[in-house]
C-alpha cells in the first residue's frame, strides 16, 4: 500500500502548492519531496499538471499558493537564475539547445554559473578569461566523450538529430554540475534502444551523487526511479517504490488504465 509522506527534511520540498489558469485548477495543494541523492520520478497522465509543477519548481511560474524549498531555503519567489546558482538545473520537454552554437559550445556554456569573468576582462582577454575558456573547453571535451557526442562536437546543435539534441541538453546540464537535475520528459522522441541507454546514463549520474527528479509518462524510463510520485488532476495520489505504485488501485484506475 502506498501513502503520502510529509517531506520536511528533504532536499527539494514542495508544500501545499496550488495553481489555477482562469477557472481551471491545475494544481491543488501538491505536497511532495525529493530526498538528497535520490532518483525520484514524477508521473501522471497528460493534463495532470506535471509541466506546471515543473515550471513552478524551476522558477518559470510563481505559484498562487504554497512553497518550494530547496536545500532548506525557501525559493518560492526567487528567479530562475538564482535557483540555478543554487544548483537546481532543468531540461525541457522539447530540447532547448542553442541551435546556432556548435555542440561543443553548447557544452562549454554549461559551465557558465561557475565562472565569473566580466565583459571588460573578456574583451582584453585577461588571464582569468583565458583560464576560463580553457576550463570550458576541457569540460566540454570530457562531457562530449562521456555522453557519446564526440563525433558531432563541431556541428551546430540545431542540426543534429532530436535524440542527440536531448543528449546535448543533458550533457550541458551535467557540465553545470547540478545538485538537483530536473528532467522533463527526457525520453520523448527517443526509440527504445536510446531509452535504455538513457536509463543507464541516469543511473550512472545518480550513483555519482547527482539528485535527479524525472518527469515522464514513459514507464520504461520511470522504472529507473527509486521513488515515484503520481500526480493526477493536480494532486499527488500516491508515492512509493515503482512496484508499490503499480499495485495502487487509484493509480491503476487513473493512470495505468488497468
Amino acid at each position: 500500500m502506498t501513502m503520502l509522506v510529509k517531506t520536511a527534511d528533504t532536499f527539494l520540498n514542495v508544500a501545499e502548492v496550488s495553481h489555477s489558469f482562469g477557472g481551471l485548477h491545475v494544481l491543488r495543494g501538491v505536497d511532495f519531496g525529493v530526498p538528497a541523492g535520490s532518483l525520484t520520478g514524477l508521473i501522471g497522465p497528460n493534463g495532470a499538471g506535471k509541466s506546471t509543477l515543473f515550471n513552478i519548481i524551476s522558477g518559470f511560474l510563481p505559484p498562487q499558493r504554497g512553497t518550494v524549498r530547496f536545500d532548506g531555503r525557501d525559493i518560492t519567489r526567487e528567479q530562475v537564475q538564482t535557483r540555478t546558482r543554487a544548483g537546481l538545473i532543468r531540461t525541457f520537454q522539447t530540447p532547448k539547445v542553442f541551435g546556432k552554437l556548435t555542440v561543443r559550445e553548447n557544452l562549454m556554456i554549461g559551465c557558465y554559473r561557475h565562472l565569473a569573468s566580466g565583459v571588460v576582462g573578456n574583451m582584453v582577454r585577461s588571464s582569468r578569461s583565458r583560464a576560463e575558456m580553457e576550463l570550458m573547453q576541457a569540460q566540454a571535451a570530457e562531457a562530449g566523450e562521456r555522453f557519446g557526442l564526440s563525433a558531432v562536437m563541431e556541428r551546430p546543435a540545431g542540426q543534429v538529430t532530436a535524440g542527440m539534441q536531448r543528449l546535448v541538453e543533458l550533457a550541458r546540464g551535467y557540465v553545470s554540475r547540478p545538485r538537483l537535475l530536473m528532467l522533463d520528459e527526457p525520453s520523448s522522441g527517443l526509440n527504445s534502444t536510446e531509452i535504455g541507454q538513457l536509463r543507464e546514463l541516469l543511473q550512472r549520474l545518480n550513483r555519482e551523487g547527482i539528485t535527479i527528479l524525472l518527469v515522464s509518462h514513459d514507464m520504461q524510463l520511470v522504472d529507473v526511479a527509486t521513488r515515484v510520485h503520481v500526480l493526477c488532476f493536480g494532486s499527488i495520489i500516491a508515492s512509493g517504490a515503482m512496484a508499490q505504485i503499480k499495485q495502487d488501485e487509484r493509480v491503476r484506475q487513473a493512470y495505468l488504465g488497468v
Binding site: 557558465y112 569573468s117 573578456n122 582584453v124 575558456m133 541538453e169
Partner: protein, 313 residues
Amino acid sequence: MSRSRRALVWGIPFLVWAVLPFVATRHVVDLLVFAGLYSIAGLGVAFLLGQCGIVSLAQSVFYGIGAYCTAWFCLHKGLPSPVGVAAGIALSTGIAALVGWPILRLSGYFLALATLALGIIGQVLFLEWDWITGGTLGIGGIPRIAPFGFAFDTPLRFYFLVWPIALLLLVLHHNLLHSRNGLALRAMRDSPEAAAVLGMDIHKLKVQMFVLSAALGSVAGSLFAHYVTFVSVDSFAIDRAISFLLLAVLGGVYTVWGPVLGALFITVLPQWLSRLGDIHAFVFAAALIAAVILLPEGFSGAIRNWWRARKAK
C-alpha cells in the same frame, strides 16, 4: 590554413589599407575617415542586434553626447582630448545604464520603439539646450587631436588615427564574442529560457551590451567632433541613427567586421554613384534593396558562408 596563406589573407587587406590613402584623392580619404567613424558607432549597433536581438535607434544620441562633450571640455574648458572622450563615455554609459535598465525589459518592436523614442528625445534636447549645444548654429572651432604637438589635422593623418582605433575596438569585440560572456550572448539569442536555466542574467547582460554600445557611439562622436571641428544638431538627428542601423544590417550583424563593410558601402558608394547624375539616389536605393533581399546576413555573412562552403569542399 597554412602560414603563407594566412599572411596573404591578412597581408593584402593591410597593404591596401596602408597604401590607399596615398593614392586616393583627398575627398576619398575624407570618406574613408567617415567610414572609420561610422564603423565604430555601427559596431555597437551591430553587436546589439546580432548578439542580443536589440534594434537600437538611439545610437545618434550617444554619438551626439560624445561630440558635445568633446566640444564642451576641449573648446570651452580647454582640457585635453582624452578628457572630452572620457567625459562622453561616462555620460553616455551612465545614460545608457539608467535608460537601458527599464527599457531592456521590453523586446521586439516595443524595444525598438523605445530606443527610437530615446533617439527623438535626444535630438530635441540637442536642439533645445542650445546653451550647451549651440542649437542649430552649432559649435565651431573644436581643437584637433594633437598629442605631443602632432596634429591630426588632415584627412590623411586622421585616417591613420581612426582606423587603428576602429581595429582595436573590433579586436576587443572579437575577444568578447569568443569568451564566457560572448558565448552567453549567443546562447541567449538562441534560447532565452535555456540560457536562464544555466544561470545567465539575461537582462543584466543586455544592459551591459547596451552600455558598451553607447560607449562606442560616444567614442565615434568624440572623434567626429575632433575631425570636423564643428558640431551641430543636424549631425545627430534620427536619420544618423537609421544610418548606423542600416550599415549594421548591410554589413552583417553576426560578425564583428560586418559594420566596416556596411560603413564603406554607405559612405563611399553614394559618392561614387553621384557621377551618374540625378539618377544616383535611385540607383543607391535600388542597391540597398537588392543587398538586403539577396544578402539577408549582410555582406560579411555572405562572405563567411562562401568561405565555409569553400572550406567544406
